[in-house]
C-alpha cells in the first residue's frame, strides 16, 4: 500500500510540529526553573528588606533617682509600652557612666518596641486600639520613624525582636570557616597532589578514590553524627564551638576541594611536566615550581566554592549543638557559638511574627555573601583561565 504525496506531506508536517513542540516544552522547563528563582528572590526581598529598617520614637526621657531604681518610670506612661524594654534596661548603666545626666529630662530618639515597628510597617501587631492612636499621633508629629537598623548588624541574638542581630552569628561563621579552611585546604590539596602526581594506580589509590566519591555523596547530616560521636564524645572537643563545627565541616568540604584541585592539576598539560623532568627536576620540584603555580587559580576557585558550600550548611551543625542562643559577639574558637544558617534556623522557629522579617533579613545577608563568593570564584576562573 503506497501513500500519496499529500499524505506524506501531511505526515511530515505533523512530524515537524512534534519537533517544535519538544523544543517549546523543553524551553518552558528551563523558563520554569528560572521563574522559580525570580519568585524566590523577590519573595525573600519582600519579606527581608523591612528587617533593615527599625522603628524609633522620640520620647521624653527623665533621668532621676526613680528611673535609676525603676527604669520604666523614665518615660511617660502613655508611651511606656511603646519603648523597647531593651532600651529601658540600659538606662541605669547610662546614668552611672554619665552622672551629669541625673536630674535632666531630654527629648531622645529611642528604640521602639517591635510591635510599634510591625505596626508602622503595616503588619499585624499586638498593639491595642489606644496605643495605635498614640503611635499614629507620634508619626504625624514626625516623632515615630523607620530608620536604618544598624543594630541588626552589630548585636547578637535576643529574645526581643527589636534587639536581635546577626553579628554574633556572622562572627561564629567567620571563626568556623577559618577552622574549616585551615584543616581542609592543606589536606585536600595534598591529597589531590598525591593522587594526580605521585600515586601509581594500585588498589590503595583506587580505594582512596572510591572513598572520596562516596564522601562527596554522603548526606551532610551523617557528618554531624560523626562529629558528635567522634569529636565530642570520644576526643572531648567542647560542644557548640567553632572548633568542632569547623572540624566537622572540614571533612564535609574535603571532597569538594580534592575534586576541584584534581581537575585543576589534570588541566596542566603533560608537556610542562616533561620539560621540567627533562632539565632534571625531581617530582616534587616539578609539582612545586611548575604544576602548582599554573593550577593555583583553579585550586582557589574550587576552594572558594567549597567554602561557600560549607558556609550555607546547617544540618551537621545542629547535631553538634551550634544552634546555641548567643547574645554576645565573641571571637574565641572555644566558646559556644552559632553560625549564620543556624541563626536563620533558630529565628525561623520563633513564634513571634517580627522574627519572620529578621529571618528573611538574615537570609538576604547570607545569600549576598554566598553569591559574591561564587561570583569571585567565577571571576577568578575567567581571569586566569588558560587554554593550552
Amino acid at each position: 500500500m503506497s501513500q500519496s504525496f499529500d499524505e506524506i506531506t501531511a505526515q511530515l508536517k505533523r512530524r515537524h510540529r512534534k519537533s517544535a513542540r519538544l523544543k517549546w516544552v523543553s524551553m518552558s522547563a528551563l523558563i520554569l526553573a528560572a521563574a522559580f528563582l525570580v519568585v524566590f528572590i523577590s519573595d525573600m526581598l519582600i519579606k527581608g528588606l523591612p528587617a533593615f529598617q527599625q522603628a524609633q520614637i522620640q520620647v521624653e526621657v527623665t533621668y532621676s533617682e526613680q528611673s535609676q531604681q525603676m527604669p520604666p518610670a523614665a518615660v511617660n506612661e502613655d508611651v511606656r509600652r511603646l519603648v523597647s524594654r531593651g532600651f529601658l534596661r540600659t538606662l541605669p548603666r547610662a546614668m552611672k557612666q554619665n552622672p551629669e545626666l541625673m536630674g535632666t529630662t531630654r527629648m531622645e530618639w529611642v528604640l521602639a518596641d517591635s510591635s510599634v515597628d510591625q505596626y508602622l510597617k503595616g503588619n499585624h501587631s499586638g498593639l491595642k486600639e489606644s496605643q495605635r492612636t498614640v503611635v499614629d499621633k507620634l508619626a504625624e508629629q514626625g516623632r515615630a520613624e523607620l530608620k536604618f537598623n544598624t543594630r541588626f548588624f552589630t548585636s547578637g541574638d535576643s529574645k526581643m525582636p527589636e534587639l536581635a542581630g546577626i553579628a554574633a552569628a556572622a562572627m561564629g561563621t567567620v571563626m568556623t570557616m577559618i577552622v574549616t579552611m585551615l584543616v581542609c585546604f592543606p589536606i585536600g590539596v595534598m591529597t589531590a597532589i598525591y593522587l594526580e602526581e605521585f600515586a601509581t594506580d594500585n588498589w590503595l589509590t583506587q580505594t582512596i578514590e572510591i572513598n572520596i566519591n562516596n564522601l562527596a555523596a554522603v548526606p551532610s547530616i551523617l557528618f554531624g553524627l560523626l562529629g558528635l560521636a567522634i569529636y565530642i564524645n570520644f576526643f572531648g572537643v567542647p560542644r557548640s564551638t567553632p572548633i568542632v563545627g569547623g572540624l566537622t565541616l572540614a571533612l564535609m568540604t574535603l571532597p569538594v576541594i580534592i575534586i576541584a584541585t584534581r581537575t585543576a592539576l589534570r588541566s596542566v598539560p603533560d608537556t610542562i611536566r616533561q620539560a621540567a623532568f627533562g632539565v632534571g627536576c625531581s617530582r616534587w620540584q616539578v609539582v612545586r615550581d611548575h604544576v602548582l603555580p599554573v593550577s593555583l587559580p583553579g585550586i582557589l576557585t574550587g576552594s572558594i566554592i567549597g567554602l561557600a558550600q560549607a558556609m550555607g550548611e546547617t544540618a551537621p551543625l545542629i547535631i553538634i549543638g551550634m544552634v546555641a542562643f548567643i547574645p554576645d559577639v565573641s571571637a574565641s574558637f572555644t566558646d559556644a557559638s552559632t553560625v549564620m544558617p543556624a541563626q536563620i534556623f533558630t529565628w525561623a522557629g520563633e513564634p513571634d511574627r517580627a522574627f519572620v522579617e529578621k529571618t528573611a533579613g538574615g537570609i538576604l545577608v547570607l545569600l549576598a555573601v554566598l553569591i559574591s563568593l561564587n561570583a569571585t570564584a567565577v571571576w577568578l576562573r575567567k581571569k586566569f583561565e588558560r587554554r593550552w
Binding site: 512534534k18 522547563a29 528560572a34 524566590f40 598525591y194 550548611e313 546547617t314 534556623f345
Partner: protein, 418 residues
C-alpha cells in the same frame, strides 16, 4: 607555669632548632662544595633535609604521646612529653648534620618524606569514611541491644516518648513503653522523595535537553549560572521558603478544592526539595547528553529523522544510563536532605499516602532525637544512630549503583571527561 606558656616555649625552641638546622647544614654543605667536592645535592636541599630530621620526629613524638594519652588514658605529664620531643629534635638535628656528605642524596630523601606526607593526607578520606561507619555502627549496635532489630524494621509505631525514664533506671514508672517502629519514618521519607523526584526529574531533564540540543550558545551561557545559583542556595533558606511561603499557598489551594491540608503537609517540602534538585539533574544530564557522540545524531538526521525524533529515539536511549545514574544520585540527595524537611515537614510519625497530611522523615527524627535534652545513653538518642545507619547504607548503595551505571556509559561511548 601555665600550659599555654609551655606550648609557646616548646614551639619557640623547636623553631629555633629548625632554623639552626637549616643554617648549619647549609653552611656545612657550602663549605664542602667550596672545597671542590662534587655533591649529589644542592646546599639548600641538605638544609631542608636537616630541618625535616629535626622537626619531623619531634612533632611525631608529641602527636604520638598525645594520642596515647587520649586512647589509653595513660597520664604522661605534658612537660615530660614536650621535653622528650625536644631531645628527639636535638638528636634529629645531629643526624641531619651528619648526613651532609657528598655521597648523600638529600633531594631524594626529601622526596621520600614529601611523598609519605602526601600519602598520609590522602589517607584522611579513608579514615573519615571509617570514622562515619564506626561511629554510626557502634552506637546503632548499642541501640539494637536495647530494642529489637525486627521491631525497628517492621514496627509501625514510632513513639520514643518515655525512653528517657528507662535510661534513668526508672522504666517501671513510665506510663507506656517506648516503641521504635521505623516504618512510618521510611514511608514519609519515601513519599517526600517521590514528590521531589516528580518535580525534579521532568523539569531537570527537559531543561538539559533544551540546553544541550536546542539552545543557542547565548542562552546556554546565561542559563547555566542561573541554575548554579539555584544549586548554591543553602538548604536552610529553602526550608524557610517551604514553610513560610509554599505551605500556606498549598493549604489555600487545597482549601479552594475543598480539601483539608495540614500546614506541615508533605507537598511543600517535596516540591521545594524538587526545585533544589533541578540543577543537579540538569547539569549531570546535560553533560551526559553532550557526551553522546555526534556521529549518532548525524546518522539519524541523515536518515530523515526530525530533530525531536533524533532526540527521543537516538540520543536519549544512548544517554539513559547516565540519566538514570544522575537520578539515583538525586534520590540519594533527597533521602539525606535535612533542613527542608526539618523546617517544613511535620514531627509526627504518620503512616499515610496522602501528601496533604503532615508526615515525618528519617532525617527529621535524627535531628529531633539529638537536639532534645536527653542523656546520650537513652534509647531515643541512640535511635538517631540506627536511623543514620539505614540512611548511610541506602545512600551508599544508590551511589555505588550510580557509579556503575555511569562507568558503563563511559566505556560504551569512550566519554572520558565524564
Amino acid at each position: 607555669m601555665p600550659t599555654n606558656q609551655i606550648y609557646l616555649l616548646f614551639s619557640g625552641v623547636l623553631l629555633a632548632l629548625g632554623l639552626a638546622a637549616f643554617f648549619m647544614a647549609r653552611a656545612r654543605a657550602s663549605r664542602l662544595r667550596e672545597n671542590g667536592m662534587a655533591m649529589y645535592a644542592q646546599p639548600d636541599q641538605y638544609a631542608w633535609f636537616s630541618v625535616l630530621t629535626t622537626a619531623g620526629p619531634a612533632v611525631l613524638v608529641g602527636a604520638l604521646g598525645a594520642f596515647v594519652m587520649l586512647l589509653i588514658g595513660a597520664e604522661i605529664p605534658t612537660l615530660y612529653l614536650l621535653g622528650a620531643s625536644l631531645v628527639v629534635a636535638t638528636i634529629g638535628l645531629l643526624v641531619g648534620l651528619m648526613q651532609v656528605r657528598p655521597t648523600f642524596h638529600a633531594r631524594q630523601a626529601i622526596e621520600v618524606v614529601i611523598r609519605a606526607v602526601l600519602a598520609t593526607a590522602a589517607m584522611v578520606s579513608i579514615v573519615t569514611t571509617l570514622g562515619i561507619l564506626l561511629s554510626i555502627v557502634f552506637e546503632a549496635l548499642r541501640f539494637f541491644q536495647m530494642q529489637s532489630f525486627w521491631e525497628f524494621i517492621t514496627g509501625t509505631t514510632w513513639a520514643p516518648g518515655d525512653s528517657f525514664l528507662a535510661a534513668a533506671g526508672r522504666a517501671d514508672e513510665g506510663a507506656s513503653a517506648a516503641q521504635f517502629g521505623s516504618v512510618p519514618l521510611f514511608a514519609g521519607t519515601f513519599i517526600i522523595t517521590l514528590i521531589a523526584m516528580l518535580v525534579a526529574i521532568p523539569i531537570g531533564l527537559l531543561a538539559a535537553i533544551y540546553m544541550a540540543e536546542f539552545a543557542p550558545t547565548r542562552v546556554r551561557t546565561l542559563a547555566k549560572p542561573v541554575l548554579e545559583v539555584l544549586a548554591g542556595i543553602p538548604t536552610v533558606v529553602y526550608g524557610f521558603f517551604a514553610a513560610i511561603t509554599v505551605a500556606p499557598v498549598i493549604v489555600d489551594v487545597a482549601g479552594f478544592f475543598g480539601l483539608d491540608a495540614s500546614f506541615n503537609n508533605a507537598l511543600a517540602p517535596g516540591i521545594v526539595m524538587g526545585i533544589m534538585i533541578i540543577p543537579f539533574i540538569s547539569s549531570l544530564s546535560d553533560d551526559v547528553i553532550n557526551a553522546v557522540p555526534d556521529s549518532m545524531r548525524q546518522g539519524s538526521l541523515a536518515l530523515g529523522m526530525t530533530k525531536a525524533e533524533t532526540i527521543t529515539s537516538v540520543v536519549l536511549p544512548a544517554a539513559i544510563p547516565g540519566i538514570i545514574s544522575a537520578s539515583l544520585l538525586a534520590v540519594s540527595r533527597a533521602l539525606g536532605e535535612t533542613m527542608i524537611v526539618v523546617m517544613a515537614a511535620g514531627m509526627r510519625p504518620n503512616l499515610t499516602a496522602n501528601p496533604l497530611e503532615d508526615m515525618t522523615t528519617v532525617t527529621v527524627r535524627i535531628v529531633a532525637a539529638l537536639t532534645g535534652d536527653q542523656e546520650f545513653e537513652s534509647a531515643e538518642t541512640l535511635s538517631a544512630f540506627a536511623l543514620g545507619l539505614v540512611l548511610f547504607v541506602v545512600t551508599l548503595t544508590l551511589n555505588m549503583v550510580s557509579v556503575i551505571m555511569i562507568r558503563r556509559f563511559r566505556e560504551k561511548y569512550r566519554a572520558n571527561d565524564l
